[in-house]
Amino acid sequence: VTVYLRTSEIIGLPVVTVAEGEDVAEIRDVVYAGEGGMLLGFTLNKRGFLRGRMREVLTADSVTAIGSAAVMIADAQECLVPAGDAPDAVGSPATERNVLGNAVLTEGGVRLGTVTDLVLAVGGRGEIIGYELQREGTKESWFIPRPEQIAVSGDALLVPASIEEYVSHDLSGFALAVGRYSSEAKSSEGSS
Protein backbone atom coordinates (compact mmCIF):
# COMPACT_ATOMS: atom_id res chain seq x y z
CA VAL A 1 0.00 0.00 0.00
CA THR A 2 1.38 3.40 -0.96
CA VAL A 3 0.69 6.15 1.52
CA TYR A 4 1.04 9.83 0.76
CA LEU A 5 2.48 12.06 3.45
CA ARG A 6 3.32 15.73 3.37
CA THR A 7 6.93 16.36 4.29
CA SER A 8 5.66 18.76 6.97
CA GLU A 9 3.91 15.77 8.55
CA ILE A 10 7.18 13.82 8.62
CA ILE A 11 9.29 16.61 10.06
CA GLY A 12 9.19 16.28 13.83
CA LEU A 13 8.29 12.57 13.82
CA PRO A 14 10.25 10.47 16.30
CA VAL A 15 12.73 7.91 14.98
CA VAL A 16 11.95 4.71 16.91
CA THR A 17 13.87 1.43 17.10
CA VAL A 18 11.70 -1.62 16.45
CA ALA A 19 13.33 -4.00 18.92
CA GLU A 20 14.02 -1.50 21.73
CA GLY A 21 10.97 0.74 21.43
CA GLU A 22 13.15 3.79 22.09
CA ASP A 23 12.84 7.19 20.42
CA VAL A 24 16.45 7.82 19.45
CA ALA A 25 16.05 10.93 17.28
CA GLU A 26 13.58 13.21 15.59
CA ILE A 27 13.22 14.10 11.89
CA ARG A 28 14.69 17.54 11.22
CA ASP A 29 14.37 17.62 7.45
CA VAL A 30 13.66 15.41 4.45
CA VAL A 31 16.48 15.04 1.91
CA TYR A 32 15.56 14.03 -1.63
CA ALA A 33 17.18 14.04 -5.06
CA GLY A 34 16.45 17.23 -7.02
CA GLU A 35 16.14 15.11 -10.14
CA GLY A 36 13.85 12.13 -9.91
CA GLY A 37 12.56 13.13 -6.49
CA MET A 38 13.90 9.99 -4.82
CA LEU A 39 14.01 10.04 -1.03
CA LEU A 40 17.66 10.01 0.08
CA GLY A 41 17.29 10.28 3.82
CA PHE A 42 16.77 12.56 6.77
CA THR A 43 18.68 15.02 8.87
CA LEU A 44 17.93 14.64 12.57
CA ASN A 45 17.31 16.54 15.75
CA LYS A 46 17.88 15.29 19.28
CA ARG A 47 14.85 14.25 21.28
CA GLY A 48 13.77 15.76 24.54
CA PHE A 49 14.69 19.01 26.22
CA LEU A 50 18.15 19.28 24.69
CA ARG A 51 16.90 19.67 21.15
CA GLY A 52 19.19 20.79 18.40
CA ARG A 53 20.81 19.22 15.42
CA MET A 54 22.27 15.73 15.72
CA ARG A 55 25.63 14.95 14.21
CA GLU A 56 24.16 11.78 12.74
CA VAL A 57 21.88 11.42 9.74
CA LEU A 58 19.55 8.64 8.59
CA THR A 59 19.83 7.39 5.01
CA ALA A 60 16.74 6.05 3.24
CA ASP A 61 18.35 2.60 3.02
CA SER A 62 18.32 2.27 6.79
CA VAL A 63 14.64 3.08 7.22
CA THR A 64 12.39 0.14 8.07
CA ALA A 65 9.15 2.08 7.61
CA ILE A 66 7.71 5.57 7.59
CA GLY A 67 4.33 5.86 9.23
CA SER A 68 2.04 8.60 10.38
CA ALA A 69 3.36 8.40 13.96
CA ALA A 70 7.02 7.42 13.62
CA VAL A 71 9.93 6.59 11.38
CA MET A 72 10.97 3.05 12.31
CA ILE A 73 14.56 1.79 12.18
CA ALA A 74 16.15 -1.49 13.23
CA ASP A 75 18.97 -0.25 15.41
CA ALA A 76 20.37 3.14 16.42
CA GLN A 77 24.02 2.06 16.29
CA GLU A 78 23.82 0.83 12.73
CA CYS A 79 21.20 3.12 11.19
CA LEU A 80 22.26 6.53 12.47
CA VAL A 81 25.56 7.40 10.80
CA PRO A 82 27.75 10.47 11.29
CA ALA A 83 27.06 13.03 8.54
CA GLY A 84 30.66 12.69 7.37
CA ASP A 85 30.26 8.96 6.71
CA ALA A 86 26.97 9.34 4.81
CA PRO A 87 26.68 10.02 1.08
CA ASP A 88 27.22 13.77 0.53
CA ALA A 89 23.66 14.36 -0.60
CA VAL A 90 22.40 13.31 2.84
CA GLY A 91 25.40 14.30 4.96
CA SER A 92 25.57 17.86 3.65
CA PRO A 93 22.34 18.48 1.77
CA ALA A 94 22.17 21.43 -0.62
CA THR A 95 20.02 24.22 0.77
CA GLU A 96 19.11 25.84 -2.56
CA ARG A 97 16.75 22.94 -3.26
CA ASN A 98 14.23 24.42 -0.92
CA VAL A 99 11.20 25.11 -3.10
CA LEU A 100 8.83 26.05 -0.28
CA GLY A 101 7.42 29.50 -0.97
CA ASN A 102 8.31 29.34 -4.66
CA ALA A 103 5.71 30.35 -7.23
CA VAL A 104 4.58 27.65 -9.66
CA LEU A 105 4.10 28.86 -13.24
CA THR A 106 3.13 26.82 -16.25
CA GLU A 107 4.98 27.17 -19.54
CA GLY A 108 1.74 28.76 -20.72
CA GLY A 109 2.29 31.58 -18.24
CA VAL A 110 -0.43 30.59 -15.79
CA ARG A 111 0.41 31.02 -12.12
CA LEU A 112 -0.93 27.97 -10.27
CA GLY A 113 0.05 29.07 -6.78
CA THR A 114 2.84 28.95 -4.20
CA VAL A 115 4.49 25.77 -2.97
CA THR A 116 3.49 25.15 0.65
CA ASP A 117 4.48 21.49 1.00
CA LEU A 118 5.94 18.47 -0.74
CA VAL A 119 4.13 15.14 -0.97
CA LEU A 120 6.15 12.00 -0.30
CA ALA A 121 4.94 8.58 -1.43
CA VAL A 122 5.82 6.09 1.27
CA GLY A 123 5.91 2.35 0.71
CA GLY A 124 8.78 0.72 -1.03
CA ARG A 125 11.35 3.34 -1.89
CA GLY A 126 10.16 6.81 -0.85
CA GLU A 127 9.75 9.39 -3.57
CA ILE A 128 8.64 13.01 -3.76
CA ILE A 129 5.71 12.74 -6.13
CA GLY A 130 4.12 16.13 -5.99
CA TYR A 131 3.66 19.55 -4.51
CA GLU A 132 0.97 21.11 -2.43
CA LEU A 133 0.20 24.64 -3.59
CA GLN A 134 -1.67 27.51 -2.08
CA ARG A 135 -3.63 29.60 -4.52
CA GLU A 136 -3.07 33.31 -4.05
CA GLY A 137 -5.75 35.11 -2.15
CA THR A 138 -7.49 31.92 -1.05
CA LYS A 139 -7.15 29.31 1.65
CA GLU A 140 -7.61 26.57 -0.91
CA SER A 141 -4.81 24.14 -1.47
CA TRP A 142 -4.05 22.25 -4.64
CA PHE A 143 -1.90 19.28 -5.38
CA ILE A 144 0.06 18.78 -8.58
CA PRO A 145 2.19 15.80 -9.61
CA ARG A 146 5.93 16.47 -9.76
CA PRO A 147 6.69 16.81 -13.46
CA GLU A 148 9.64 15.04 -15.06
CA GLN A 149 10.58 18.25 -16.80
CA ILE A 150 10.84 21.13 -14.43
CA ALA A 151 12.89 24.30 -14.23
CA VAL A 152 13.68 25.55 -10.74
CA SER A 153 15.22 28.98 -10.22
CA GLY A 154 14.91 29.55 -6.49
CA ASP A 155 12.04 31.96 -7.20
CA ALA A 156 9.79 29.88 -9.37
CA LEU A 157 9.05 26.40 -10.63
CA LEU A 158 8.23 26.31 -14.31
CA VAL A 159 6.10 23.26 -15.12
CA PRO A 160 4.58 21.90 -18.36
CA ALA A 161 1.20 23.41 -19.25
CA SER A 162 -0.27 19.91 -19.35
CA ILE A 163 0.05 19.70 -15.57
CA GLU A 164 -3.08 21.84 -15.23
CA GLU A 165 -5.16 18.80 -16.17
CA TYR A 166 -3.84 16.91 -13.15
CA VAL A 167 -4.53 19.42 -10.41
CA SER A 168 -6.51 17.94 -7.53
CA HIS A 169 -7.93 19.34 -4.33
CA ASP A 170 -7.30 16.54 -1.88
CA LEU A 171 -4.78 13.79 -1.30
CA SER A 172 -7.06 10.95 -2.37
CA GLY A 173 -7.86 12.65 -5.66
CA PHE A 174 -4.18 13.39 -5.94
CA ALA A 175 -3.31 9.70 -5.75
CA LEU A 176 -5.49 9.08 -8.81
CA ALA A 177 -4.08 12.11 -10.62
CA VAL A 178 -0.51 10.92 -10.06
CA GLY A 179 -1.35 7.52 -11.50
CA ARG A 180 -3.03 9.09 -14.51
CA TYR A 181 -0.22 11.59 -14.96
CA SER A 182 2.55 9.02 -14.89
CA SER A 183 0.82 6.81 -17.46
CA GLU A 184 -0.25 9.61 -19.84
CA ALA A 185 1.78 12.77 -19.57
CA LYS A 186 5.20 11.38 -18.72
CA SER A 187 5.11 9.06 -21.71
CA SER A 188 4.17 11.89 -24.08
CA GLU A 189 6.78 14.23 -22.55
CA GLY A 190 9.37 11.57 -23.09
CA SER A 191 8.46 11.07 -26.75
CA SER A 192 8.30 14.78 -27.65
Binding site: V1, V16, A19, G21, E22, G67, S68, A70, M72
Partner: protein, 143 residues
Protein backbone atom coordinates in the same frame (compact mmCIF):
# COMPACT_ATOMS: atom_id res chain seq x y z
CA UNK B 1 -5.80 -15.72 32.12
CA UNK B 2 -4.46 -12.97 34.31
CA UNK B 3 -5.03 -9.27 33.70
CA UNK B 4 -1.93 -7.22 34.44
CA UNK B 5 -4.09 -4.16 35.05
CA UNK B 6 -5.92 -5.98 37.85
CA UNK B 7 -2.66 -7.23 39.34
CA UNK B 8 -1.22 -3.74 39.80
CA UNK B 9 -1.37 -2.62 43.42
CA UNK B 10 -1.91 -6.09 44.85
CA UNK B 11 0.20 -6.98 47.89
CA UNK B 12 3.04 -9.40 47.23
CA UNK B 13 3.58 -11.95 50.02
CA UNK B 14 6.64 -14.15 50.36
CA UNK B 15 5.41 -17.67 51.14
CA UNK B 16 8.14 -18.83 53.52
CA UNK B 17 8.10 -15.81 55.82
CA UNK B 18 4.52 -14.61 55.16
CA UNK B 19 6.00 -11.13 55.00
CA UNK B 20 4.67 -8.54 52.59
CA UNK B 21 7.44 -7.55 50.18
CA UNK B 22 5.42 -4.65 48.84
CA UNK B 23 2.82 -4.00 46.17
CA UNK B 24 2.95 -4.68 42.46
CA UNK B 25 3.98 -1.46 40.76
CA UNK B 26 4.97 -2.58 37.27
CA UNK B 27 5.96 -5.44 35.04
CA UNK B 28 8.80 -6.09 32.65
CA UNK B 29 8.09 -7.58 29.25
CA UNK B 30 10.43 -9.47 26.95
CA UNK B 31 8.75 -8.50 23.69
CA UNK B 32 10.71 -10.86 21.45
CA UNK B 33 9.77 -13.80 23.69
CA UNK B 34 6.18 -12.50 23.95
CA UNK B 35 6.16 -12.84 27.70
CA UNK B 36 6.18 -11.08 31.03
CA UNK B 37 9.43 -11.89 32.77
CA UNK B 38 9.35 -9.88 35.97
CA UNK B 39 7.20 -8.12 38.55
CA UNK B 40 8.45 -4.85 39.98
CA UNK B 41 7.40 -4.76 43.63
CA UNK B 42 7.46 -1.41 45.40
CA UNK B 43 7.74 -0.87 49.10
CA UNK B 44 7.91 2.79 49.93
CA UNK B 45 10.64 4.24 47.73
CA UNK B 46 12.55 1.03 47.19
CA UNK B 47 11.75 -1.65 44.68
CA UNK B 48 12.46 -5.36 44.46
CA UNK B 49 11.97 -7.75 41.58
CA UNK B 50 10.13 -11.05 41.35
CA UNK B 51 10.88 -13.31 38.41
CA UNK B 52 7.71 -14.73 36.90
CA UNK B 53 8.83 -18.30 37.68
CA UNK B 54 8.94 -17.41 41.38
CA UNK B 55 5.21 -16.69 41.49
CA UNK B 56 3.19 -19.35 43.30
CA UNK B 57 -0.25 -17.92 42.82
CA UNK B 58 -2.06 -14.81 41.69
CA UNK B 59 -5.17 -14.56 43.81
CA UNK B 60 -7.95 -12.01 44.02
CA UNK B 61 -6.37 -10.27 47.02
CA UNK B 62 -2.67 -11.05 46.93
CA UNK B 63 0.17 -12.52 44.93
CA UNK B 64 2.10 -15.27 46.69
CA UNK B 65 5.75 -15.65 45.66
CA UNK B 66 8.66 -17.89 46.60
CA UNK B 67 11.33 -15.18 46.58
CA UNK B 68 12.21 -11.65 45.63
CA UNK B 69 15.53 -10.22 44.48
CA UNK B 70 17.42 -6.93 44.50
CA UNK B 71 16.63 -4.43 41.78
CA UNK B 72 19.92 -2.56 41.70
CA UNK B 73 21.65 -4.31 38.83
CA UNK B 74 18.54 -4.45 36.66
CA UNK B 75 17.89 -0.72 36.18
CA UNK B 76 15.98 -1.11 32.95
CA UNK B 77 13.51 -3.44 34.64
CA UNK B 78 12.91 -1.28 37.69
CA UNK B 79 12.78 1.99 35.73
CA UNK B 80 9.53 0.98 34.05
CA UNK B 81 10.99 1.10 30.52
CA UNK B 82 9.74 -2.44 29.94
CA UNK B 83 6.37 -1.89 31.64
CA UNK B 84 3.57 -2.23 29.10
CA UNK B 85 0.52 -0.62 30.75
CA UNK B 86 -0.43 2.81 29.33
CA UNK B 87 2.46 2.64 26.90
CA UNK B 88 2.03 3.96 23.35
CA UNK B 89 1.58 1.14 20.81
CA UNK B 90 3.35 1.58 17.46
CA UNK B 91 3.24 -0.82 14.54
CA UNK B 92 6.55 -1.58 12.85
CA UNK B 93 5.07 0.32 9.88
CA UNK B 94 5.28 3.47 12.02
CA UNK B 95 1.61 3.96 12.81
CA UNK B 96 0.14 4.48 16.25
CA UNK B 97 -2.50 1.95 17.31
CA UNK B 98 -3.35 3.43 20.69
CA UNK B 99 -2.15 2.96 24.26
CA UNK B 100 -2.01 -0.26 26.26
CA UNK B 101 -5.12 -0.60 28.42
CA UNK B 102 -4.45 -4.11 29.57
CA UNK B 103 -2.35 -7.18 28.90
CA UNK B 104 -3.60 -10.72 29.49
CA UNK B 105 -1.12 -13.47 30.26
CA UNK B 106 -1.34 -17.19 30.94
CA UNK B 107 0.17 -18.99 33.92
CA UNK B 108 3.61 -19.23 32.36
CA UNK B 109 3.71 -15.47 31.75
CA UNK B 110 3.14 -15.82 28.01
CA UNK B 111 1.26 -12.83 26.65
CA UNK B 112 -2.07 -13.81 25.15
CA UNK B 113 -3.26 -10.39 24.02
CA UNK B 114 -2.62 -6.68 24.36
CA UNK B 115 -5.68 -4.47 24.61
CA UNK B 116 -4.71 -1.22 22.92
CA UNK B 117 -8.10 0.44 23.11
CA UNK B 118 -9.42 0.32 19.56
CA UNK B 119 -7.21 -2.60 18.63
CA UNK B 120 -6.56 -5.95 20.27
CA UNK B 121 -3.13 -7.28 19.42
CA UNK B 122 -2.17 -10.93 19.75
CA UNK B 123 0.87 -11.51 21.97
CA UNK B 124 2.69 -13.17 19.10
CA UNK B 125 2.83 -9.80 17.28
CA UNK B 126 5.03 -8.13 19.92
CA UNK B 127 8.38 -7.01 18.55
CA UNK B 128 9.95 -4.60 21.00
CA UNK B 129 9.38 -2.48 24.07
CA UNK B 130 11.18 0.51 25.52
CA UNK B 131 10.60 3.78 27.26
CA UNK B 132 8.89 5.28 24.21
CA UNK B 133 6.69 2.55 22.81
CA UNK B 134 5.56 -1.03 22.55
CA UNK B 135 6.26 -2.02 18.93
CA UNK B 136 4.09 -4.67 17.27
CA UNK B 137 4.06 -6.28 13.83
CA UNK B 138 1.88 -4.26 11.49
CA UNK B 139 -1.45 -5.65 10.40
CA UNK B 140 -1.19 -6.76 6.73
CA UNK B 141 -3.69 -4.02 5.78
CA UNK B 142 -1.20 -1.37 6.94
CA UNK B 143 1.44 -2.45 4.49
Amino acid sequence: MTSLREAVGKPVIVHETAEQAGEVRAFAVDAAAHRVTTLVVASGRSARLVDWDEIESIGPDAIIVRSTREAADDDRLASGALHPLDKRVLSDAGNELGAVRDVTVDESGSIDAVDAGDASVSGSRLRGIGSYALVVTADPSER
